[in-house]
């Protein structure tokens, strides 16, 4: 996975964000061992000292712990991961609301739009919620499914907006269910991207998180 670091924020902060996102998404499971500093640094094409700094910071927050000789591990405190997920979800939602406000959307409009989008999204991905929360074990796993489905939703949101552009606010009820493999190419997402669409895409991510 490419790391896509921006040039205007300190790198170690972006690395922290990225690793946190990976933990929330379940790419790293609780108790998993992290790769070595050098491996991670090479993977991200950053200075090993920067990577070290980021990991020390994560250690300070308790999300990662180190065992003197055997390396660094992800915390087994699922409650902490859950809290982090909630906090990040809230942040993204606030960010979305802010952007929508800039576009002049009112409360009712936002709600209507989200409901609409959610329905389309659910229509396309009926199974995404079913696995959720059966046991602690499946919980993290389903988190993965969630993000994954959120991405698919993002795509459908875009199709939706796109069609809205061409047909003047009509909704396409039977948007094609997109397959994740197709979706994996980010170029597809780049086309026709406007701030509204970005907000919508983010909205979809959030709302899928909130479905359960």
């Amino acid at each position: 996975m490419p790391w896509n670091l921006d040039s205007d924020r300190p790198i170690f902060i972006q690395i922290i964000d990225r690793i946190q996102a990976d933990i929330i998404a379940g790419c790293y499971q609780p108790g998993d061992k992290l790769p070595s500093v050098r491996e991670l640094a090479q993977d991200a094409s950053v200075n090993p000292n920067t990577m070290q700094k980021a990991l020390s910071e994560l250690e300070r927050t308790g999300l990662v712990y180190s065992q003197r000789t055997s390396g660094r591990f992800i915390t087994e405190d699922r409650e902490m991961i859950r809290a982090l997920r909630e906090q990040q979800g809230q942040q993204i939602a606030l960010h979305f609301l802010e952007n929508m406000k800039k576009l002049g959307y009112g409360k009712d409009e936002i709600l209507a739009l989200l409901t609409q989008l959610l329905e389309t999204a659910l229509h396309n991905q009926p199974h995404s919620t079913e696995t959720h929360g059966h046991s602690a074990e499946t919980h993290t796993h389903s988190a993965e499914t969630h993000v994954y489905s959120a991405e698919t939703h993002t795509h459908s949101a875009e199709t939706h907006v796109y069609s809205a552009e061409t047909h003047g606010h009509s909704i396409t009820p039977h948007a094609q269910p997109y397959n994740a493999a197709v979706h994996a190419q980010p170029e597809q997402k780049q086309q026709h991207k406007s701030s509204a669409q970005e907000s919508l895409a983010e909205a979809c991510k959030i709302t899928t998180w909130r479905i359960p």
Binding site: L5, S7, N47, P48
Partner: protein, 231 residues
Amino acid sequence: MILLECKNLTKQYGFHTALSHVSLQVGSGHIVGLLGPNGSGKTTLLKLIAGLLAPTAGMAYVMGEPIGIGSKRLVSYLPDHPCLGGHMRVQEAIHFFEDFYVDFSADCAHDMLDKLDIDPCCRIKSLSKGTAEKVQLILTMSRQASLYLLDEPIAGVDPAARDYILRTIISNYNENASILISTHLISDIENILDEVIFIQHGSIRAHCPVDSIRQQEGKSIDSIFREVFRC
């Protein structure tokens, strides 16, 4: 630990002062970018540390060793222009370096040549500009030195090979070594830098950690450079 220390380093070429009273310290395990506009004294500074020029005043020390034979053992220098004889084959250049430096690893050099798809039997003069630069960089990085001085290491190299070279720099240097890189391709290398030194008219304008500048200014080093040195 302080790996490199310059005290009041001054260099004059006739009446022209290329470097005036430069004092700096670089600890071990750091990758430092030496950034400045053309003619600001970057190459002069590197050459002084490499021991290729004699300072007009002041002194530099590498691991406490004054610049001289002792320091040259510790320093691996990449000049900004081709320094290998064109008649040599790449293979012969490797032998040459092996003969010259105790800490040179021919295996490491062959490994990198292989990765970058360079034939060791080619004559250096038959190589393109970029490939010749790659060979020279490979030779420089194949030493187990304490301080690497890289003068414009990636200028003529294509972007894909640039990534490979940067990765090589990250993975090859050991934790106690430091690297001083002078370059204009700031955006390409800024992610691997710990510190930057801004140099202008032969004096140091700033020497600080990259993360702290990015945090303070909310900008990349590249855009800060463009602002500071706006023409």
